[in-house]
Structure formats: C-alpha cells, structure tokens
C-alpha cells in the first residue's frame, strides 16, 4: 500500500514523459491533478485503516542490499502519517494552482510528481539509506524546479540551494555510516537501530554521530546559522516550488530529528539537548527580526519559516532536557512540534501561493510597490489576511494549537528560553500586520506595468482559490477540532519520549 503511494507519482511522471510535447497543455495538467488527487485518496484510506493505539503499521520489508545492511523497509506511525497527509494535500494544491502553467508544462508536472515520490518516500522510509535516497533526490528535483522555472536570479539561487543542502546531506550520510558501524550486526534499519541503541555508553562517539546528523538535518530545517540558502531559494523559485519547499521539504529536517536522532541516540540527545534549545530560540528570534526588516513580501514569508521551524527545534530540545518532573510537559512539547509541522506546512504553503498570486499580477514582491490592493481584489486581500493571522498564531487556527503546545510544554523544562521565544510571536504579529497594511490598505497604487494582464490586478481566479482555500480551511479545522490529528500523534510522541528516556 505504502509502496504504491510512493511509486505512483513517479510512474505517472514516466508516462507523461512518453507523451509527445505537442499534446494539448490541459492533458498534462489534468493527469497531474488527477494523480495527486488519487494520492490524497490513498492516504485517506491509509489513515482510515490506521489504529490510533500507536506503533508502526503498514510495514513492508524486502531484501535490497543485504551484504551492506540495507533493506527496503517502509511503514507509518503517528509521526509520519500526518506529514504524509499534509504532503498529499500540498501537492494537490500545487497541481491546481499551476493550472495556467504555460512554460513546458509536461516537464513541470513530471518533476513535481517525481518530487512527490521523494517526499512521501522520505516520510515512510524506515531504513537510513532509503531515507537518504529520498532526501537527496528531493534536492535534485527541487534544484531543477528552481533552475528551470524560477525567476530573477534563479540559476544562482538553485546552485546555492543545491550545494548547501548537499553538504548537509553528506554530513547526514557520515552520521548514518557512524550508526551503521556502531550497530552489531551492522545495519541501516531504523527500527533495529532504535531497538539496539548502539551508542549507549559511548559518549564521544555518540556526540560525533549526533553532530553529523544534527548538522545535516539543521541545514535542511533550516535553523540559524544554516539558513542562508533559504531566502534566495524561496524568493526565486516558482510559487508552487516555494510552497513545496517550505511546506514539505523543510519538514524533512525536523522529522529526521524525531525519527532518527532522538530515538537512536537517546543518551547523546539528552546530553546535548541544551544546544538544540539555544539554537531553537535563536532561530525563533533571529528569524522574526530579520523578517521584520524585509521589504520583499516573499522573503518576509521565507524568514518567518526560520522562525516557525525554530519553535520545533526548541520543543524537541526542551523534551530532551533531563531533571525535574516534566513528563507531561515534554509530551506536550513533542506533540506540539509534530502539530507545528502540519500546521506550518498548510499555512506557509498557502502564503507562498498567495505571494505567487501577487507576483503574477504585479511582477514584483516589493511591498512598497503596492497599496490599497484590497479595494481592487477583496477576496485576495481576505485570503491573505486569513493566512497571515493564522500564521502568527491567532486562536482558532492550527498555528495557535501548535505554538501553545510547544510553549506550554517547553516552559517547565526551559523557562528562560521559552520566555524569550514568546517574544517571537509578538514580532511575527507586528510584521504580518505591517505587511497587510502596506499592501492592502491605503490609497490604491499598483506597480506601473503588469504585462499580460487584461486589466490591472484582477481578483483571485478560480484555480487559485481552489488551491489556496482548502489549505486555509484545513488550518481552521485543525485549529478548532485538532483531536483527530492529536489522537494519532500523541501515542507516537509518548513512544519517542520512552525511547529517549532509555
């Protein structure tokens, strides 16, 4: 079942590439949208069949390269299932959003389908090499999306993105090899490694392996100081590409922490949890402050991602801090971090798609170029407003639940750091309000030329709202009735903490 979910998009991509380029454009886009919809249906079926009592389900294991300890091993649990679902939702949204894609639609659809395979594959992989395979291939696919369909300085940004994240992936690989050699018998299987806890009692070795893995994942997350690839990559990527990059690819880093670093290296994690707390807080504050200084709307959204991902790093760091009687708090923090991944995926995905709408109309992201847009495009203004408020964590939206859980959970173990992190919310609120005011309120002013538009600044189109509204709606649903996700996540976060306490 999971294998089918993972491989279906690539199979469809291969089929698309066999169709001649001269075929009508809607054919490619319809196939793409249909495939992503089918993926979502399959994932819903998996979710429906998932028992909420936790544990790994839908497991498949096959021999692949036994002499090197590598197997094809996939499965889902409460950590991966919500991310699987978010991935499918976002890819469907991107397929709908790209309905008017005119530049080489065949290759665009095929690349996105392939990218979907790598994302889904990473979240179900239970073998380190399989994980690494999808991790690397997602970089390759995203490189081609940015380089091929980006704007402005796309080639340069794509190269920077590739080199930067590839360095991270190699550090990750070194860490994986370290784990492999530490286990007896040598294996790359995550479940076996988790059971074996191979580095128990070997503090230095454990710290080195954790360092390699953490650097690799931190680049992908990205946390300060490894975030510098993110703003150019986001700004120059096509809107759908940015949505996937922020919504799904960033989660690979934090997911890796929860799936690999914490359960397999519990002792090393506990010893160095404070580092993660500090890095998390710095990311929260630094991301928010730099976002505050932006004049470019898309860059602003990009930097808020650093801020939002910082909360997750803070939470998982706080969960590892020993001492005190904070069992319940820690569980809340871990659950909140998974919830934040889901929530951030939906909301930032929506924000990037909205910034794409803005760019498509005005050919610039510069906020000072716009004013009073709400008058001309009220629906667009309303959607952006909703997305911005949701993103800053207003009650009633998923972001609030996530940040509330994270901050409440981290407060007990790490009061000072959490107190500082709360300031981040305040800054985010300020910067989003300022952006909304600048673009949407005041007297009407639009960039001088908007080539290709029949009238200046049309309101949101059907295919755009079909992509964006469901994302925001899901954000609201999760904000009001989060139980059905939390039921899945909570047993898994309990398991992570049990493993961490060994």
């Amino acid at each position: 079942m999971l294998t089918a979910i993972v491989l279906l998009p690539t199979a469809m991509a291969a089929l698309l590439l066999c169709v001649p380029r001269s075929a009508p454009r809607p054919l490619f886009l319809t196939v793409w949208a249909t495939t992503t919809a089918a993926e979502l249906v399959l994932t819903v079926i998996v979710w429906a069949g998932y028992r909420t009592d936790g544990g790994m389900q839908y497991e498949t294991r096959a021999r692949w390269i036994p002499s090197a300890g590598i197997s094809y091993h996939v499965g889902v649990d409460g950590l991966s299932l919500p991310l699987l679902a978010v991935t499918c939702v976002l890819f469907l949204a991107c397929a709908l959003y790209a309905w008017r894609q005119t530049r080489r639609p065949r290759e665009f659809a095929a690349l996105f389908l392939f990218l979907q395979t790598t994302c889904l594959g990473l979240f179900v992989a239970l073998d380190l090499i399989l994980f690494f395979l999808f991790f690397d291939l997602s970089i390759v696919a995203m490189y081609f999306i940015i380089a091929g369909w980006g704007h402005r300085d796309a080639a340069r940004s794509a190269l920077k993105f590739f080199l930067y994240t590839f360095i991270g992936s190699l550090a990750l690989l070194l860490g994986f090899i370290g784990l492999y050699l530490a286990a007896d018998p040598h294996t790359f299987d995550i479940v076996e490694l988790t059971d074996a806890n191979p580095l128990a009692g070997r503090a230095t070795y454990g710290a080195l392996v954790l360092l390699a893995i953490a650097v690799g994942l931190a680049v992908k997350t990205p946390t300060v100081p490894f975030h510098t690839w993110l703003p150019p990559a986001h700004t120059d990527a096509p809107a759908a590409g940015s949505a996937i990059l922020a919504g799904v690819l960033l989660k690979m880093g934090t997911y890796g922490f929860l799936r690999i670093a914490m359960p397999v290296l519990p002792a090393a994690w506990r010893d160095h949890a404070v580092v993660f707390v500090v890095v998390g807080v710095v990311s929260v504050l630094y991301g928010a402050l730099v976002a505050l200084a932006q004049t470019d709307f898309k860059r602003l959204v990009a930097y808020t991602s650093v801020n939002h991902m910082g909360y997750i790093v803070l939470a998982i760091g706080a969960a590892g801090v020993v001492g005190g009687d904070h069992e319940e708090a820690r569980r809340l923090a871990v659950t909140g971090s998974v919830f934040q991944m889901v929530s951030h995926g939906l909301l930032t995905g929506a924000l990037f798609l909205l910034s794409g709408v803005l760019y498509e109309r005005g050919r610039t992201y510069e906020m000072s170029a716009y004013s009073g847009v709400a008058e001309r495009a009220p629906v667009f203004a309303a959607l952006t407003g909703v997305a911005a408020f949701a993103s800053l964590g207003l009650p009633g939206f998923s972001g609030f639940i996530a940040e509330f859980q994270i901050l409440t959970g981290s407060l007990g173990p790490q009061p000072v750091a959490t107190g500082l992190a709360v300031l981040g919310i305040l800054i985010t609120a300020g910067l989003f309000l300022r952006a909304l005011q600048q673009i949407f309120l005041g007297p009407l002013r639009l960039p001088a030329t908007a080539p290709g538009a029949d009238r200046p600044f049309p309101d949101i189109r059907l295919h755009e709202s079909l992509a964006i509204v469901p994302l925001l709606a899901l954000g609201v649903v999760l904000g009001i009735a989060p139980r059905f996700v939390l039921d899945v996540v909570e047993p898994a976060s309990r398991t992570v903490l049990e493993l961490l306490a060994r």
């Binding site: 090197a68 190699l170 050699l181």
Partner: protein, 473 residues
C-alpha cells in the same frame, strides 16, 4: 605451494584478447579498407567471450597460475569483467567514427593490447609481471593518445609518453630495490621477507613502485599527463584512458597493500591517505573553472582516484575494503564511460557553453548526462553512491574517519563543477547550430550506460555478494 601450474586456460580471457589482437593485425594487413570493421567485430567478440570466460572462472575456487605470479581470485575476476566491459563500450563508441579510417585495424589492435595490459596489472602477483604489465598497458596507450596525428594529439602523446617512460623507469628501480630488500619478487614471498627487511630500503622501493602505479591510475602526483592526454586525444580514446588502465592500476595497488606490504614496517595507510587527499582535492580544485568538457572530465577522474584510494588505505584493516573498491571501480567505470559517451554523441560540442539549450534539442541525451554526472558525485540510487557508501564505511571501519570527512567535503566541492556543466543545458535559448549533429551509436551507448549505472546501484546487493572472498594465496 605446490609445483608450477602452467595451465593457459586459467588465463583464458587474457589469451582471447591477445589472440584476437594478433589475429586482427594479420587479418587487417590484407582486408580491404571498407571491410576493416570486421577487426572491430572480432575485438567485440573477443571481449564478449572473455567476459563469459571470466564469469565462469569466477565460480571456480581461487587459484594461481604460472608459478604463483598470476592470481585468479575475486579481484582478478571483477577486474576482468569490468576491464573487458569497459573495452567493449569503448569499441562501441569508436566503431562509428573510425569507419573506413586508413588505420582502423591498428586502432582496434592497440586498444586490445592496452586492455590486456590492464588485465595483467590487476592479476599480477609478482613484481616482474607487474612491471611487464605496466609496459603492456602503457605503450599502446601512448600510440592511442596521438592517434589523430594532429597538434593536440601529438602533444598529448608526447607528454603522456615522457611522463610514462620516466615513471616506468622509477617503477623498475622500485622493483629492483624491493628485490634487494626481500630477495624475491613474488608477493607471498615478499610478505614474509619485507617484514624483516631494513625499513629505509622498503620505503624507498615502495615509493618508487607506487609512482608507476599512480601514473597508470592517474593520481596525484603522477597526474600531469591526464588533462592534456584526455583533451588532446579523440573522445573514445579519452574515455578509454580515464577508465580502463585505472581499473588495473587500482586493483594492483590494492593487491600490493593487502599482500606484500601488509606486514612491512611502513606508515602505509598514512601514505595512501595523503595521496588520496591530494588526488581528490587537487583534481576538484583544478576542475572548477574548466570550460572544455573533456578537460573537466579529466580532472574529475583525477579526483575519483582519491576516493578509490580510500579502501586501499585500509586494506587488510577492514573487511569491507575489497568489496568497496571493486564495486566502486565497476560503478565508476560505467558512469564515467556514460559521461564520455555523451561527449562522443555530440562531436561538435567541446565546451560547456556548447551544451546550452540541450534540454530542448536532446532531452534524452541530457538526461543521461545528468544521471552520469550526478552519479559521479554519488547521488543515490546510482552505482557510485553505493560505492561511495561502501568506501566511506570501509574507511571509517579501518580507523580513517578524518579521511572520510575530507572525502565528503570534496564530494560537495565536486558538485560545483558538475552543476556548472548541467545548468547551461537547461537555458532555453542557446546558440544552436552546426554543432548539434549527433552520433547515433554513441547516444545509444550513453542511454545504456546511464540506465546500467542506476540498475547496478539498485541491484547492488547481488553484485556485492560476489565481490567478497579471499585473495589468492
């Protein structure tokens, strides 16, 4: 050891190749020019039959031939299959451009002899045989490098020859010194003798010997010939020079590390580690701003020697080394030949800029190029990725973790120049024009090599199982 085993059937692949070369030379003397492709067909047949013979021999127990001077073990078996397979690919690349060339026969004969030399290098278990194999692998290659008889080709051949002749003499000196130190030239004998021989003598002899091996492998500091020879010679020859002799040389290097020098009192691992770091770093740095694709691939192959030296550095100290080296060699050969096949398929495109807009004109060819170049970087699921994984694991297991960190950093650096080549191909508008004639066979070879490199990566498990096993006694 029992008495002399002189069964020529143990050397069947080598005998087939040499026989086909000699027969081809005789046949070529009286065949009309437009029929000379028959010699190429004969060579292809000999390589194919040699692969079958090598595969069959690999199922037999490990043995030696000719008084223990020639090993028939997993290293030899793999080198045979990879060398002959590589030669087969080069033959397929050259049949088209050489059609009805006045010296068509000579080309095939030289190619086969050089390839036989690589086979002997991989299997030699005696210093004198190693020296003979060095000459057999080198001399035809000098002629191949200058085969086009134009300015760059002549310069390439001359430079190649001068460096090769010099380092060949140095290597013979090394053989002499080691003979003086160990009183024998056979590897198993040296293993016991060198452990007690004077350290200085062994060190000098080993260094001189390694100089020759490094020349064949194209590693730093014996790499000076690589960029010029590769750029100056025709693309199929360049593909050959950067792939086939290297396989023989690295197999020989590994054998030296694992048998005669295993117990010698030498900082062997450190020496190889330094050579490895130098190779990968210098190769990568020099490749950064190359415009000519052949020159870029030449520097890339220098850097690949660095990675290939990792398992040699831990030979005998990690169980993973042998499999890692052999698998990496196979994956590298396939991927590198694939990249060169793309170069062969676009005869007019010499510089990176000539690849602009390739995405539009030749998408399949570009896809092969992307797979091969990212394969050389080590992106999963290609064969070189698994090779790198194995090589890194072996090196960490053998206590050379710092070397692996350097290698990983170098891998990232190498990405830069491979992407510099790939990226312009996606630019929509390029100066399209005269330079877009393609060679059909070479394109098919490129598709095949790219596919095979992914398949080899996915089926790595089966292959790795075959590569283990003890060296010949």
């Amino acid at each position: 050891m029992t008495g002399m085993n002189e069964n020529p059937l143990d050397l069947l692949p080598e005998v087939l190749l040499t026989a086909s070369a000699v027969l081809g030379l005789l046949l070529g003397a009286w065949l009309p020019r437009r029929r000379q492709w028959l010699i190429g067909a004969l060579a292809i047949g000999a390589c194919g039959a040699g692969i079958v013979a090598a595969a069959l021999a690999a199922t037999e127990p490990v043995t030696t031939a000719f008084g223990g001077s020639f090993a028939v073990d997993p290293v030899t078996a793999t080198a045979r299959v990879v060398v002959l397979g590589g030669t087969l690919v080069v033959l397929a690349l050259s049949v088209g451009p050489l059609r009805a060339d006045p010296r068509e026969t000579e080309f095939y004969v030289l190619l086969q002899l050089a390839s036989a030399g690589a086979l002997m290098l991989a299997a030699a278990q005696d210093l004198l045989l190693l020296a003979a194999a060095y000459l057999l692998a080198s001399v035809p290659a000098y002629a191949l490098a200058g085969f086009r008889k134009d300015g760059p080709g002549t310069e390439a051949a001359l430079k190649f020859y001068v460096v090769g002749a010099f380092l060949g003499v140095v290597m013979l000196t090394g053989v002499t010194v080691l003979l003086a130190a160990g009183r024998t030239t056979s590897y198993p004998g040296l293993r016991t003798e060198l452990a007690e021989a004077p350290g200085g003598l062994v060190a000098v002899g080993t260094l001189a010997l390694v100089a020759g091996i490094l020349f064949k492998a194209g590693g730093v500091p014996a790499h000076f010939w690589v960029p010029d020879a590769v750029q100056g010679s025709s693309a199929p020859v360049a593909a050959f020079l950067t792939t086939v002799p290297k396989i023989g040389a690295l197999a020989a290097f590994y054998r030296l590390a694992a048998v005669p020098l295993a117990d010698a009192d030498l900082p062997w691992a450190d020496l190889v580690a330094v050579l490895s770091v130098a190779s990968m770093t210098l190769g990568n740095l020099a490749a950064f701003f190359q415009q000519d694709v052949k020159r870029l691939l030449a520097y890339s192959t220098i850097s690949q020697v660095g990675y290939l030296l990792l398992p040699v550095a831990v030979a005998g100290r990690s169980d993973l080394g042998q499999e890692a080296l052999l698998y990496y060699l196979a994956g590298y050969a396939l991927t590198n030949l694939g990249a060169f096949a793309v170069v062969c398929a676009l005869p007019g495109a010499d510089a990176i800029d000539d690849y602009r807009g390739l995405a539009r004109t030749h998408p399949a060819l570009l896809a092969s190029l992307v797979v091969c170049l990212l394969g050389l970087v080590g992106t999963p699921p290609t064969a070189v990725f698994l090779g790198k994984l194995e090589v890194f694991s072996a090196a960490i297991d053998g206590g050379q973790a710092w070397l692996v960190v350097v290698a990983a950093a170098n891998t990232v650096a190498s990405l830069f120049y491979y992407l510099r080549w790939i990226a312009p191909a996606f630019l929509v508008r390029g100066p399209t024009g005269a330079s877009r004639a393609t060679a059909g066979t070479a394109a098919v070879v490129a598709y095949g090599a790219a596919t095979a490199s992914v398949v080899l990566g996915l089926l790595g498990g089966t292959v790795l199982d075959v590569l283990g096993g003890p060296l010949a006694p």
